[in-house]
């Protein structure tokens, strides 16, 4: 059940520091949207406001509206815990739970949220691991610790863990930046498959990756150090990389940024 995200007038703070200012955009369901931009321009912060992880950071605060289909994530009475069940997240560094086995890692989101029968869990774990293209590599050692896998396998394990709870949206914060090119390719292929079922938002520093995997691309920038990050433009990926409407975007993607 992929859902559309509609952000309007979103501003996020760390304490008194304004990290991003007045961002409005629409993220289409069943598509991949990539966020690009220089370091510190607020891509990750913006991503984290989309599942209310921003407020986990001490001092984190958000103003504005994020509509998930017709529900405002920041409306009164909205429980951040249920938001995060609907909008999953994969982090920059693979972070499997070190005390849990591969099986328990994938089942963690379900087990920690309710009770499931063992056969039910087994079916979901298998489906999620297959969905993350990891099943064939780990099916014989599901009871081994998740931390024993390679970096790329760990990241796919984290993706399996995130899709096991059947979210509507999957947020990925530079999911390949700690991985080698082969693992990166595996994850990119996976993203192509996952977009059939989920709305995917991916932050990346790798422009080729954005061009390869995304349908739409958003470019973020900041006026200077200490200034809040802003959305410069969002458009079809092809247009952003061939004929962007803003000069700054062209400078950035052609490497003439300075």
């Amino acid at each position: 059940m992929a859902k559309r995200i509609d952000v309007s007038g979103l501003t996020a703070y760390y304490g008194t520091h304004k990290a991003i200012e007045d961002i409005s955009m629409t993220v289409e369901p069943r598509s991949v949207t990539a966020f690009i931009g220089p370091s510190g321009c607020g891509k990750s912060t913006f991503l984290r406001t989309l599942n209310r992880m921003h407020e986990v950071t001490p001092g984190g605060r958000v103003e504005g509206k994020v509509m998930l289909d017709d529900e405002n994530l920041y409306g009164s009475g909205v429980d951040p815990v249920s938001v995060r069940r609907t909008v999953g997240m994969v982090f920059q560094r693979p972070n499997p739970f070190p005390t849990m086995s591969i099986f328990e890692n994938v089942a963690a989101g379900l087990k920690l949220n309710g009770s499931y029968r063992k056969s039910e869990l087994e079916a979901i774990v298998e489906k999620s691991l297959k969905g993350a293209n990891l099943w064939n590599e780990v099916k014989d050692r599901l009871n081994k610790p998740g931390a024993g896998l390679s970096g790329g396998q760990q990241q796919r394990l984290c993706i399996a863990r995130a899709i096991a709870v059947e979210p509507d949206v999957l947020l990925m914060d530079e999911p390949c930046s700690a991985l080698d090119p082969i693992s990166t390719l595996a994850i990119e292929d996976l993203i192509g498959e996952l977009k059939e079922r989920f709305t995917i938002v991916i932050v990346t520093h790798n422009m080729q990756q954005a061009a390869r995997v995304s349908d739409r691309t958003a470019f973020f920038n900041l006026a200077g150090v200490g200034q809040p990050g802003k959305l410069i433009e969002i458009d079809e990926t092809e247009r952003i990389f061939s004929n962007p409407s803003v000069q700054a975007t062209e400078d950035y993607i052609s490497g003439r940024f300075g």
């Binding site: 609907t86 999953g88 982090f91 972070n95 739970f97 963690a108 949220n113």
Partner: protein, 354 residues
């Protein structure tokens, strides 16, 4: 490269190489300085091997430095000086420990047997051999157990509050008071319980009163060690769990605590070891008994540290022997606890699976 340069290079050896002392130098220096130490000691008529050892250590440090400076140059000499200092300090720290252990085992084993472990001092003439520490062992186990039951839940929850929830003034105040509690002398904790529990509330002497004082001593240690262990859990794990839609309390219970449980257990065991040797609160609150009292909530009990003190005060050979045996039991108890803690820490440590 011209011939002249090659010739020069051969003359100076390569610029990356320099004269090194052979690898066995430190061992030879140890033997040599030990001989010199013994020689000087004998010449000056010193009887104590410890004095000779100190001279040998001094000779060893100076000799490694001078030899290094002459053969290898300044930086290597300072490296040798630091290395030998570290080794000498390590030995100086270990010698008293080994000597204490040796002395206790040597003197304690004379009367330590099944009879000693299984009998109390009830009806034993204190100047005669016989009797045992069963009542003291029971007392120690019960008092330390009760203190652990009181201190561990409070300490654990305080640490969780400080690391996971505490912000602002209240957290600062709690941290401050935990620091203050760390410095409370055991006799003061004992006096506090004495005035509150026994004088004001008018309860009698009991193992439980002693356990409360021990809990006061134990709590800050548990808080501190647990706090450090929880801080070591990476934030990424908390975020990973929260991002799966797991509520914060379940994240703490199912992800944070299991990841840190090895270190937390070690901390608790060390705290237990620390209070197991306390005697001051026991003297004030448990009063000491010669017979077996299995009920920690009623009447006087004994405990191992108290028993050692009591037997030492009696001042005859039989009681000295019993004191040493009890000391050996206490050390063994603490050592077993530490081994158990290490075992749990290893068993529960996050696995790499490789």
């Amino acid at each position: 490269m011209s011939n002249a340069v090659v010739d020069k290079g051969a003359h100076r050896a390569s610029s990356l190489k320099q004269a090194r002392l052979p690898r066995w130098t430190p061992y030879a220096l140890v033997v040599g300085s030990a001989a010199v130490g013994a020689g000087i000691g004998t010449a000056l008529g010193m009887g104590s091997p410890f004095q000779m050892g100190l001279i040998a250590a001094l000779v060893f440090i100076i000799a490694s430095y001078i030899l290094g400076a002459v053969v290898e140059g300044g930086r290597q000499a300072r490296d040798r000086l630091a290395t030998s200092l570290v080794w000498v300090c390590f030995l100086l720290a270990v010698i008293p420990l080994l000597s204490l252990l040796w002395e206790t085992i040597d003197r304690g084993r004379t009367v330590l047997d099944g009879y000693f472990l299984g009998h109390s001092m009830e009806g034993v003439q204190t100047i005669l051999p016989g009797g045992g520490a069963y009542h003291a062992i029971i007392g120690t186990l019960e008092q330390v157990g009760l203190a652990t039951l009181i201190a561990v839940p409070i300490g654990l929850l305080t640490a969780i509050y400080l690391v996971e929830y505490g912000r602002g003034q209240l957290a600062k105040a709690v941290t401050f008071f935990v620091d203050v509690m760390t410095g409370i002398p055991s006799i003061v904790a004992g006096l506090f319980i004495l005035s509150f529990w026994i004088i004001i509330l008018d309860f009698g002497y009991s193992g439980f009163a002693g356990a409360m004082a021990l809990a006061i001593l134990m709590m800050p240690i548990v808080v501190r060690s647990t706090e450090e262990m929880l801080k070591l859990v990476p934030d990424e794990l908390r975020e990973a769990s929260l991002a799966l839609g797991v509520p914060k309390w379940r994240t703490i219970l199912k992800v944070v605590l299991p990841t840190a449980i090895g270190g937390i257990t070690t901390g608790v065991m060390l705290a237990v070891a620390r209070i197991a040797g306390e005697s001051a609160p026991i003297v004030l609150l448990v009063f000491g008994a010669t017979g077996i009292n299995n009920n920690p909530f009623e009447g006087a009990q004994s405990s191992l540290p108290y028993y050692i003190y009591e037997q030492w005060q009696l001042g005859n050979d039989a009681s000295f022997n019993r004191a040493w045996a009890a000391a050996l039991v206490l050390i063994a108890f603490v050592m077993i606890l530490n081994l158990v803690a290490r075992g749990i820490a290893r068993w529960k440590a996050p696995k790499s699976g490789r």
